[in-house]
Assembly symmetry: C2
Amino acid sequence: MNDAASLAALDHSDPRAMRRAIRDGRFTGFTNLVARGHVQGNLIAVPAVHADDFEAYARANPEALPLLGRGEPGRRDMPGIADDLDIARDTGGYMVFRDGELVDTPRDASAHWRDDLVPFVIGCSFSFEALLQRAGVRLRHLEEGDVSAMYETTRETVPVGPFGGKLIVSMRALTPADAIRATLVSARHPGFHGAPVSLGLPEDLGIASLEDSYGGHGMKRVLPGELPVFWACGATGQNALRAARLPLAITHYKAHMVITDLPLPEDMPS
Amino acid sequence: MNDAASLAALDHSDPRAMRRAIRDGRFTGFTNLVARGHVQGNLIAVPAVHADDFEAYARANPEALPLLGRGEPGRRDMPGIADDLDIARDTGGYMVFRDGELVDTPRDASAHWRDDLVPFVIGCSFSFEALLQRAGVRLRHLEEGDVSAMYETTRETVPVGPFGGKLIVSMRALTPADAIRATLVSARHPGFHGAPVSLGLPEDLGIASLEDSYGGHGMKRVLPGELPVFWACGATGQNALRAARLPLAITHYKAHMVITDLPLPEDMPS
């Protein structure tokens, strides 16, 4: 089977098939529109000596860092969340930090992996975006083929050990009715950041301009008749990691997430 | 006991005592800060020939008109909601409409009551305001000794028989965090209007200016750092009643509500 035929045959809703396709380089896109029936997560891997502090930091800031799983030192599988995971290869995009500096963004992180790295998987808004859409919420950034914009706020997270820093949020532009619906639906899913932390007034979070997104990415435009709605974001963890200047840390690369086998929960009718 | 001593001795948290004090003219204020552990409601009384249509109208528009009780023709008690109610005297303020025109605003409606009138009690935002405050939401209009402002929207209610017309909403100015908390708390109480119908953008409801409140009443100012949050309002029923031009209809007068013996539900932690 040639590459085109292989990609055409790929079941984009199957998490196992998607992980394989990513590992083999057959799928290289963002993961936000694939395997939507299953939970996706942020990856953060730190040296074992810092793992307990990082876990405590996540538990102290559960809106930003809802913990879905913690791996064993040096192991690249996580049997609790996926049956055949190779976490050093299956997200399709990585950021490698040394002493807080980004030194590489490989598609495969095997060459950087170390026997003392402990991977964490953190709940991600891609999962609640699927739930929001099921509930009838219009997500314009997806229609425009974009991801949500992220912003650095002036709110401090609760620091633990070397980890701390500002809360990062993701933003979606929604009509008032959808903002209300999205608040009710997301609040029922603390594992994917829960309810919004703010809405309507960017200045409430110290965001001076919606044009100024974190990393410059994402859909920043809010149209007439829409409100910006802000959720705590797992990128808060990457931010804390950089500030901690660990000798080595590895995370997923933007919008290339860990695809798990955990089924997305059914939402109650709102 | 003279009047001052009698009022000082009055237990403002006791619904039965408050109804008696209102009936005797010892208490003449708004009811939004008394008997806060018990449900309050809007009163709408219509001739029996229109009662089934009005009930159907309420059931078709449950956000605005959550039905708490329906009385019997000509009876001024409602044993299901209060043990000793005289609904023609116990709210302390009434509006009497003939052919859709307001003809009287008595403190006691006995002189206008008729043997074929059927009273309806409709859930009211005073009840959810108590729940919001218990949940830590700051309600500035109460701090300022005011009631919430109401607005006529451009949204049509679902018409039934002679009843129809625009949705009326109440507005509270809240911080973003309180707007989110208030959305989550109020959504759990459909009997008191449920979740907001809109927020942040008055134009979403066709409200051109927040200065232009329905009847001119209430706290209209939204301060920097606050959002206007809008809930469907029982005044929608009064509006429909006037438009229906019934030969006779009697309602409570603004902020003088039916105080019931129904305990306010405990709210779940948010």
